[in-house]
């Protein structure tokens, strides 16, 4: 794991050890372990069914793994295992310190309330009771994700796919999280929209110093965004390292196959 050296900081934000999840007799993911440091972007790539999403669900507290530990560096009490803390605390963590950007914006947004309310919901959830303040924060965040502020009172279903993803990002970042999970944030968007969204995410992650775990099957996305890369196949991590290192000098046969499968334009 020499890849961790350039990013070594006093303590990791997220520490995953021996994580295994089984669906009955089937293996979802097997013996995965990594450290994620503050401000670091980790990409997880692999083909469909390789266990990427299972892994993401386990490390983001949505699903309890069969074995292994997921420890998070809380602001007040140091490293705590996600599944040992109380549910109240875990849920509070998930809506303040964390963000989750779903592949399908409909999973991450409240489709029947306006864009402004979607952005303001997290603020209200942590006790903000001042309408003027919530409103100005919502305007501010719509601007930061480069959305038209005039559409603040429109419903999310009137937005295009790219705008829905932007709104989802704004909604997650409003509480200034330290860690954001993204599950295929750009799939289903056309390439020009993808490029702008990726540029936005890269800018936000860099300026806000957010640590990020991005699950994707698109090697272009990880090339652009992530510092480190894990390649998964059949539930196991087959190769990991610095992004450029893995993509330019793949060692494992599967990674070599994956890299050579990119269609040249």
């Amino acid at each position: 794991m020499n890849a961790e050296a350039p990013f070594s900081r006093p303590s990791p934000l997220l520490q995953v050890r021996g994580l295994t999840h089984r669906y009955g007799p089937h293996i979802g993911c097997r013996d995965v372990g990594f450290d994620l440091y503050p401000g670091e972007v980790l990409g997880i790539v692999g083909e469909s069914g390789s266990g990427k999403t299972t892994l993401l669900k386990c490390i983001s507290g949505q699903m309890e793994p069969s074995e292994g530990s997921v420890e998070y560096q809380t602001r007040d009490a140091g490293l705590i295992d996600l599944f040992r803390m109380s549910e109240a605390r875990r849920r509070l963590l998930m809506r303040t310190d964390w963000g989750i950007v779903y592949q399908n914006a409909r999973d991450g947004l409240r489709m029947r309330v306006s864009a402004g309310a979607n952005v303001g919901e997290r603020l209200m959830a942590i006790g903000d009771r001042n309408y003027g303040h919530i409103r100005s924060e919502a305007v501010d965040w719509l601007e930061r994700v480069e959305m038209d502020v005039g559409r603040i009172d429109d419903m999310p279903h009137t937005f295009s796919g790219g705008m829905q993803q932007r709104l989802q990002i704004a909604r997650n970042l409003v509480t200034k999280p330290r860690l954001v999970f993204m599950d295929e944030p750009t799939s289903g968007l056309d390439v020009s929209v993808q490029a702008r969204l990726l540029d936005l995410i890269r800018g936000l992650v860099r300026t806000l110093g957010i640590a990020c775990v991005i699950v994707t099957h698109d090697l272009g996305v990880v090339r652009l965004l992530s510092h480190r890369l894990m390649v998964m196949k059949g539930g196991s991590v087959v190769e990991s390292g610095l992004t450029d290192q893995v993509l330019d000098d793949p060692q494992h046969p599967y990674t070599q196959l994956l890299v050579s499968s990119i269609l040249p334009v």
Binding site: R110, V113, A117, G120, A125, R129, N130, G132, D153
Partner: protein, 326 residues
């Protein structure tokens, strides 16, 4: 004694009063059997102990359709005794179908005295209003509740709403208020306005107008809520704090009217708009019919409708002030 069907679990000694000779043939006292009443009382006690918490209970089939007050009627049946005096109101009025029928139901099955006068009643079952006359420690107010879950509109899953209550995750409640202000510049929710009880549980006050919300706060009377179809009972004990949700910069307000009651001149009561003809004529009268009558009996008189209304709207008027007709 012979008039009443004996319930197998009923002991004659503990329940001698249930065999009152005034009750109709073939019914246990207050219609429900003793075991059911006991079960409902346990739910009520739990509800009182945890203000605003929705206690599940085994709601029974009642001889009226869901939505007509099956929850309220079961709660009333569980708390009423032979010496009680019952008042039933429906949208403030004592003389509407729902109120008249529920009153006669208990007169028949429990043989209790009934009244339309708020101060004389010891148990008041209500649909969608709180009486204008302040209630006392001697009284119990029973609400009929159609949808007890205040979080339902934003979270359809029952398991999830229970978790939200348990973990006090009420931020989403304010999302609906935010939406109102964003769209209309003010909170437009005018009935069933969500409240927080005793600083803990967010509760649906049943579809009373928000005008009545302040009356729930620190009310001396015990407030019980029954939802028959949804099988939930909850309660607000006497003098408990009931706070309507709002924003710091958009505080909770109640409705107000330019008019006073056309019949009794009351300025402090919730007014219903009554259309009087097909030329735009209308008048505003107290929704609480008993309150209005009490005031008129005490000599108060309204202006028989707003005389300036027709003039302001240039409507040719040929009607006379018929407000004092009663």
């Amino acid at each position: 004694m012979a008039d009443v069907i004996d319930h197998p679990n009923r002991t004659a000694g503990s329940d001698g009063r249930a065999t009152d000779a005034r009750t109709a043939t073939g019914y246990n006292f207050a219609y429900l059997d003793e075991q059911t009443k006991r079960m409902i009382r346990r739910a009520i006690l739990k509800g009182v102990a945890v203000p605003g918490y929705q206690v599940p209970f085994g709601s029974r089939e009642m001889p009226l359709p869901y939505g007509w007050g099956t929850g309220g009627i079961q709660v009333t049946a569980a708390v009423i005794g032979p010496d009680d005096t019952l008042k039933v109101i429906d949208q403030g009025a004592d003389d509407t179908t729902n109120a008249v029928n529920i009153r006669s139901f208990f007169a028949k099955t429990a043989g209790v005295a009934t009244t339309e006068r708020t101060p004389e009643a010891s148990v008041i079952q209500t649909r969608h209003r709180i009486p204008e006359t302040p209630l006392t420690e001697e009284q119990i107010l029973v609400y009929q509740v159609p949808i007890p879950e205040p979080l339902r509109w934003l979270e359809p899953r029952e398991a999830e709403t229970r978790k939200m209550h348990a973990l006090e995750e009420y931020g989403a409640m304010h999302v609906s208020l935010y939406e109102d202000i964003a769209k209309f510049g003010r909170i437009t929710k005018s009935y069933n306005y969500p409240v927080r009880v005793n600083g803990r549980y967010v509760m649906s006050p049943s579809p009373i107008p928000k005008f009545d919300n302040p009356k729930m706060d620190r009310m001396p009377a015990l407030q019980l809520f029954g939802a028959g179809r949804e099988k939930r009972i909850y309660a607000v004990p006497p003098y408990a704090e009931v706070k309507s949700l709002d924003f710091e910069d958009h505080p909770f307000t109640i409705e107000s009217w330019e008019q006073c009651c056309a019949l009794c001149g009351a300025e402090d009561s919730y007014l219903d708009e009554v259309v009087t003809d097909d030329k735009g004529g209308k008048m505003y009268v107290c929704s609480d019919s008993d309150y209005c009558e009490q005031r008129r009996a005490a000599g108060h008189r309204g202006d028989g409708g707003d005389p300036s209304y027709a003039a302001r709207h240039e409507i040719p008027t040929d009607r006379t002030a018929d407000g004092d007709a009663s």
